[in-house]
Amino acid sequence: MSRFWPEGLSISDIQSPYSPYSILENAREEWETISDGVLTLVLQSSESEDSNAIITVHAKHIPTNRTAALFSIIHRLKEPYPVTIRPRNENIPNFLKKSYQLSRTSAGSAVTKVVAELEAINNPMSIKKTQELITNKWVSDTPSEFRKKLADAFNLSVIKSAVLNLTSSASFESQSEDDDNAAQE
């Protein structure tokens, strides 16, 4: 067991393909193979205003040419790692999400805040700085970590929903009939 090899960095990480774009190209090949050519990924490269590289990943239903934006990948220009995934905004209601966080506000928090502010005015030295550690679960430092998180991103409900909506054009006729029936009721 090496003591000096960076933890979390696997041999595969230093072999190509290792850039986020290359890994996404692998994902695209896999999509085309598994869907028998019906679905593919379109990788749109661009640069943000603050000079980061952005790859927006779109799913495409080839028979209809319909597309859906799935998520974005962001890293510094010419430095592929660390890289983060920014998932598509989830617009589904909470009752349809497999998990979600409920934020609760304690009844006394506003009062506590006012008391703390008054105390701070009277005694500035009493101010306690509170630090909150924000964890971005979508950041990857290495290619192997990015592969895993990319798989997680593709497994999000909102992504599955977008893909299913793309491919469900065959059911639209029956869906329209349902609408007709609903409208006639």
Binding site: T56, T67, A69, N165, L166, Q175, S176, D180, A182, A183
Partner: protein, 290 residues
Amino acid sequence: MAATTVKMKNEAGLARMPPLSRIVFWNVKRKDLTDAVCALAKSTAADVIILNENSVSSSKTLCALRQNVAGDFYIPKPASEDRFHCFCRNSALDLSEIHSGFRTSVRKYKFENQMFLLVLLHGLDIRNYDDEARRSFMQDLMRDLKFIREDKENNKLILLGDFNLNPYDRVMNSAAGLNAMMTRACAAKGTRQHATKKYDFYYNPMWSLLGDNTKGPAGTAYDTSNQGPYGWSMLDQVVLHHSIIPFFNKVEILTEAGEYSFMDKNGRPDAKNASDHFPISVDFSGGHYE
């Protein structure tokens, strides 16, 4: 078919007899305004009604439109984005969704042998999102529009929706933003260069409806809190690629429909009985100048 024939004069004073296509957009703020929507559909004779933030199921709204306005209303399919409820009564217009993006739904819009792309969008609101999030959304939107233009090989974009921005906000008119100009003449040049890139001009007709010196209200939403420093805002907008200008007829802010008034006694959107946004109606006309 709701398409009507109207006689108009273009800027050069030439009469024309084009078919007209009318789209009405309304952010109903998650309220059940079905009766008002029906009145709106009836009074405007719109081909297309698009509701944003409609808490009523689309099938229920469709049912009401069919019963109270016209039996030929239908919901264009496919459509995946529930953020926009779209009702159409002219199947020739198509309006099927070809792309769903970040808070956007792009529809085919066939009119006068042209294929336009109608981009329905709902920007991030000022109350719940900070400047950074809103700026990031607009950058996402720009990337989405670029993708749509390239992937669909069509730059005839019509952007319609609750932008949650004013026509004068920087991102609306900067070259790398929407590049949306105030007048037809400004946009007529087609493109402008910024750094090394050329950017297509868009035309934002909402500029014409701002302020006191207009026929209707000064904007589509009213807010004097710290998030609405101007009082009136023109959050609901239509913005057109310069190539569509010849087909654009007019845009109006609607304050009433039949017996329904969307305005309170101060002339502002009646948030209590209707929505805190006024609806807007956009007319396109085609045909040849006589």
